[in-house]
């Protein structure tokens, strides 16, 4: 052991240094972590879990250990396009699907009548159970440490992140840091003319980080989002509302065999509507609206407008739909989906009591709007690492997204890549043709966003491939290869694939006389067969299902034998939609050489004089990773891309 002062500058603050005989002992309160995750919302929790499961030593830092994995807005997971994301997170080995399944109080598969790419799982969840399940799962994950404090600064040296500084002055070192601050960065809450700092109602905002990042050269901006009032369910008259029940079959999100809620035990939701009287009362509060008075500077999402926005922008509409959602198994708390507002609380109250069923409503707390800092995501690479500071990652609302699912999947990917970086491994990037997650990240880093970004199926060009039923096939093998998805997951996928192939072969080969099928076809109003036909061909007809066919054709059932309904569903989807699936695969194939054509990291765009100045500036700013990504940047047109290819060379 050398002289102790050699270590003077390399010992983190807070480290106990003491001598015992000749030997100097360092006893740090914190070891050096592989990954520090700042924030324990949906993004932070997934990031911590992913990194830890890949073998990294992880510290999860949160301002409040009691509010890990809060559902700050509606008590629901999934939905159209979002449900697909949750399935993808689960297929990768993330926790959101499992946590959702364990806390589900109602499940519906949305868009069942559409093509299989549109089927979207959605659950209503017990808000408290959701959060405790997450915390339990994290606590049971080896390699995850927790620390409760606010992070006030980052330690950066030579363009690389070194660690964090907490509010109490602790310096904690790590190879990678993932920031998932959500709505907490300089959060300001607005209710009518009142405004106060905070990251969620009743919780402090976080300060310091934005200012430091801006001083390091980051751009930041403001966004706004809102949430509706919470109501005492005992004060509502449900007889005046429409019931909305859960599905008869609870499919769930996770590909793992998890016990799901029994269909008959599901809770129901209700639907009711606003009316012109409600709108008139709301208008009386516009004079005190923080939105209309210009106190809120950030832009809010157009697809999730406040009720006052709906009334103003769609004045011709006499009513707006409200979903009345229970917050859990045991609580009487109710969430009024569709009534997000930042009008003064007494206006909210008066207006809501004009809604059928809400005449005697008691509030638990009013709705509010919140403004927060975000960092335009064009400042990130495809791994969600910042371009400015190596090994620093951003995930979730800090990137301008909205939604638990959007946040969670970014957390997952940032966690994976933070861990990969810490161990000097190759990055893991999902393509647009791999997953909605790939679409989301590519959109964010290529196009940026000036309103909270939410996923829609129409954002994905390959949605017939990116289905909720095949996320495991698409992603689990990759996730397993990087040490994230368990052996069990891979075994399940392989077994499913084997079964699908087996049943498909039987369907292709099973041939029977018309009599074998005709009774079944007649009962389904399908034209009768006149000659010997293959089962697969009959399956291609509209309104013909494989399960029903097996029931009416005993020989077929005998050939197929015992088979999981999920396998049958796979076979059916792959047969019925084969042409469309094939079409999309062809498109993917056609585009693959552009998607795979990498642009050198330090490519000099200045010399591309044949290209428009706008395109050059955009390219210089965004630094696309591939030609495919370059082609999606707005302001870069196809001929610019061709020119780029020409200059780039081989």
């Amino acid at each position: 052991m050398g002289s102790p002062w050699l270590y003077r500058y390399s010992v983190p603050r807070g480290t106990q240094v003491f001598c015992l005989g000749d030997t100097l002992y360092l006893c740090p309160m914190f070891p050096e972590y592989d990954v520090i995750v700042v924030g324990a919302g949906h993004a932070g929790c997934e990031a911590a879990a992913a990194a830890a499961n890949m073998g990294s030593k992880v510290l999860l830092v949160t301002m409040n250990m009691q509010t890990i994995a809060q559902m700050s807005c509606n008590p629901a997971m999934g939905g159209i396009a979002k449900g697909q994301i949750v399935r993808e997170i689960d297929a990768m080995g993330g926790y959101s699907g499992i946590v959702s399944d364990k806390s589900t109080i109602q499940f519906r598969m949305l868009n069942r009548s559409k093509g299989p790419g549109m089927w979207s799982p959605r659950s209503q969840n017990d808000r408290a159970l959701f959060a405790t399940t997450w915390r339990n799962m994290l606590e049971q994950t080896p390699n995850v440490d927790f620390w409760q404090d606010m992070v006030q600064g980052l330690i950066v040296s030579r363009g690389t992140i070194q660690g964090i500084v907490t509010g109490m002055g602790q310096e904690i070192r790590a190879k990678s840091v993932v920031l998932t601050n959500g709505t907490f960065l300089n959060g300001v809450i607005h209710v009518g003319e009142k405004q106060f700092g905070g990251g969620r109602m009743g919780e402090k905002g976080a300060t310091g980080i934005t200012e430091q990042l801006v001083s390091l050269g980051f751009e930041s901006d403001r966004l706004k989002t809102g949430t509706p009032p919470r109501i005492d369910g005992r004060s509502l008259d449900y007889t005046k509302m429409e019931r909305q029940e859960g599905d008869d079959e609870v499919v769930g999100f996770s590909y793992l065999p998890i016990e799901k809620v029994k269909p008959q035990n599901q809770r129901c939701c209700w639907i009711t509507y606003t009316n012109p009287e409600v709108h008139d009362i709301l208008k009386t509060g516009f004079g005190q609206s923080p939105m209309y008075q210009g106190r809120i500077k950030g832009s809010g999402p157009r697809y999730c407008p406040s009720i006052e926005d709906k009334v103003t922008r769609f004045a011709e509409k006499e009513r707006h739909q409200l979903f009345v959602e229970p917050e859990g198994w045991d609580t009487v708390e109710i969430y009024v989906n569709g009534f997000s507002t930042s009008l003064p609380e007494e206006v909210q109250y008066k207006a809501l009591t004009m809604v059928p069923g809400f005449e005697k409503a008691k509030f638990f707390r009013p709705g509010y709007a919140i403004e927060y800092d975000y960092f335009p995501p064009t400042q990130l690479t495809a791994t969600l690492e910042t371009k400015l500071i190596k090994n620093l990652f951003f995930a979730g609302q800090i990137n301008g997204t909205t939604g638990y699912e959007e946040a969670a999947c970014q957390g997952l990917m940032a966690g994976i890549n933070a861990s990969r970086n810490a161990h000097e491994q190759e990055p893991v990037i999902l393509k647009r043709s791999d997953a909605y997650i790939g679409v989301l990240i590519d959109d964010l880093i290529s196009k940026g966003t000036d309103e909270p970004y939410r996923m829609f199926t129409s954002r994905a060009e390959y949605r017939t491939i990116l289905r909720q039923d095949n996320a495991d096939v698409r992603l689990t093998p990759l996730a397993h290869s990087i040490g994230l998805a368990s052996d069990q997951r891979l075994a399940l996928v392989n077994a499913k694939q084997g079964e699908v192939a087996r049943v498909k072969k039987i369907m292709e080969e099973f041939k029977a006389e018309p009599e074998a099928f005709n009774e079944f076809l007649e009962s389904n109003n399908s034209s009768l067969l006149t000659e010997k036909s293959k089962a697969l061909k009959v399956l291609l007809r509209p309104n013909i299902g494989i399960k029903e066919m097996m029931e009416s054709v005993p020989d077929l059932k005998a050939s197929i034998g015992e088979c999981s309904p999920l396998v049958l569903e796979q076979v059916e989807i792959m047969a019925k939609y084969a042409t469309y699936i094939e079409k999309e695969h062809e498109m993917v194939q056609k585009m693959s050489n552009l998607e795979d054509l990498a642009i050198p990291e330090h490519f000099n765009y200045e010399k591309l004089t044949a290209m428009s100045i706008e395109a050059r500036q955009k390219l210089m700013k965004i630094k696309p990773r591939t030609i495919g990504q370059a082609s999606r940047i707005s302001g870069v047109n196809p001929s610019d891309v061709q020119i780029l290819i020409v200059y780039m060379g081989r």
């Binding site: 552009l594 044949a610 200059y647």
Partner: protein, 458 residues
């Protein structure tokens, strides 16, 4: 965006008529495609860097006798398999050969795409590449404008308009997919069905106009009509004599047809004898009179009414104009026998005519170019009859065929009650190719439309 894995085709020699013209195919299927349209068997088995004499055949019809040069990868201009087809240098033949290649799976090359591939495969250095980049930049800007210019105005407007409607519809379709849980109205399938029908008709007409070759094969039909002694024969001779150098000698077509074809800025005009062959025209017109030539006028795309402007025929001219307008015939007025000295007087005499008169002297070959420009403008600005000529550009022919294919898929999807998300897939395809013709790039921002028109959001 351009995929780089398919086989591309284009005319490699400069536009205009020459002794020979070369068509180049490049890509993995270049040789296979050439083999399919070549009269001699076994082209695929031939070694690289060999020449093969034979015929290009389409539907059992010989298009031309050609020499095919084979270059196998990597020893070719692009570094891919390349086939060069040397034909006779007629615009018509070259376009025909290209269209046969397209039918067999090639894609029309974009500006600079051969060189682009050559560069990507390491066949060119950067200075050469810079030239390509400049080419791409300049051509892509003008390409769509040029395309729209040659498209008949009415149709291009229709196409643009229908494309807009299609975007709106696909936005409505997305609305019912992404927001099906919400209280929104859905896309009206009946109206959509009508739109698809209308688009199919227009597209089919455009495609037909190409594949029937109204422009390229038959040219724009022009009837030169007028009273005996107006100078029709002289005008015909003057027009044809001047053009003789660029009229090609096409094997398999009759000599008469060739001699009556006129190429103005790349558009072929077929000068129809209103009453027979030139040498005898005078007699025939005299024999069969004005009624017979009126029949011919109705069949033609454009009528050129020629009259002797050295004398006063004002009333007759007005009658004639009325006749053209009542019968919806596109026409030009050409006052003959007016040389430079008589111009002022002729202007005076015909001041009462509200349409532009092109005063010419067929005999002295004066102002013939003005007449040609007027003919060209009539086609290029799209002021032609409905069933006349439309597309002359093979690139757009390729795009239109893709449009047609996706329209067909959309329709069969609607017929079979295929879910909206799958129909949307074909709409996306259709919009992409429509955009290639109208020059508008699909921004795909249907969400903007949805958010501006519908109240979305729980």
């Amino acid at each position: 965006m351009l995929p780089l894995s398919d086989t591309i085709v284009a005319i490699a020699t400069p536009p205009g008529e020459g002794a020979i013209g070369i068509i180049r195919l490049s890509g993995a299927n270049a040789i296979t495609i050439a083999a399919k349209i070549f009269s001699k068997k076994g082209l695929e088995q031939q070694p690289s860097h060999t020449l093969h004499f034979g015929k290009i055949v389409s539907n059992h019809t010989v298009i031309d006798e050609v020499v095919i040069s084979l270059f196998k990868n990597p020893k070719s201009y692009t570094g891919e398999d390349v086939v060069e087809i040397s034909c006779h240098g007629s615009n018509y033949i070259l376009q025909q050969v290209v269209s046969v290649c397209l039918q067999h799976g090639a894609r029309m090359a974009q500006a600079g795409e051969f060189t682009l591939r050559a560069f990507l495969n390491g066949k060119l250095d950067l200075t050469q590449a810079e030239a390509v980049a400049d080419l791409i930049a300049s051509q892509s800007n003008t390409a769509h404008r040029a395309a729209m210019h040659t498209l008949r105005g009415g149709f291009s407007e229709d196409l643009k308009d229908m494309r807009e409607q299609l975007i709106t519809f696909s936005a409505l379709m997305e609305l019912e997919l992404d927001f099906s849980e919400e209280d929104v109205e859905f896309a009206d399938r009946t109206r959509f069905y009508q739109l698809i029908g209308a688009l199919t008709t227009v597209t089919q007409n455009l495609v037909n106009s190409f594949s029937l070759g109204n422009v390229i094969k038959n040219g724009v039909s022009v009837a030169i009509v007028g009273k005996p002694n107006a100078g029709k024969s002289t005008l015909l001779n003057t027009l044809l004599n001047e053009e003789r150098a660029i009229v090609s000698d096409i094997a398999g077509t009759t000599r008469d047809t060739i001699e009556e074809t006129l190429n103005i800025n790349g558009i072929i005009f077929r000068l129809i004898d209103t009453a027979g062959i030139r040498e005898h025209s005078k007699d025939l017109i005299e024999l069969q009179g004005i009624e017979r030539s009126r029949e011919a006028m109705k069949k033609a795309d454009i009528a050129v009414y020629l009259f002797d402007a050295s004398v006063d025929q004002l009333d007759e001219l007005k009658d004639q104009q009325r006749y053209f307008e009542e019968n919806n015939i596109k026409y030009l007025l050409a006052g003959n026998k007016v040389d430079a000295r008589g111009l002022e007087k002729a202007h005076d005499t015909y001041r009462g005519i509200d349409k532009q008169i092109i005063f010419i002297s067929a005999k002295n070959k004066e102002n013939i170019n003005e007449l040609k420009t007027a003919l060209y403008d009539l086609v290029a600005t799209g002021d032609l009859q409905q069933e006349g000529t439309i597309i002359t550009n093979v690139r757009h022919y390729g795009a239109l065929q893709e449009v047609l294919k996706s329209l067909h898929d959309i329709k069969s999807g609607l017929d079979n009650s295929v879910p909206g998300d799958l129909i949307a897939l074909d709409i996306r395809h259709c919009l992409h190719y429509l955009g290639e013709i109208t020059g508008e790039i699909t921004t795909e921002d249907k969400l903007d439309y949805i958010f501006s028109k519908f109240c979305i959001g729980k």
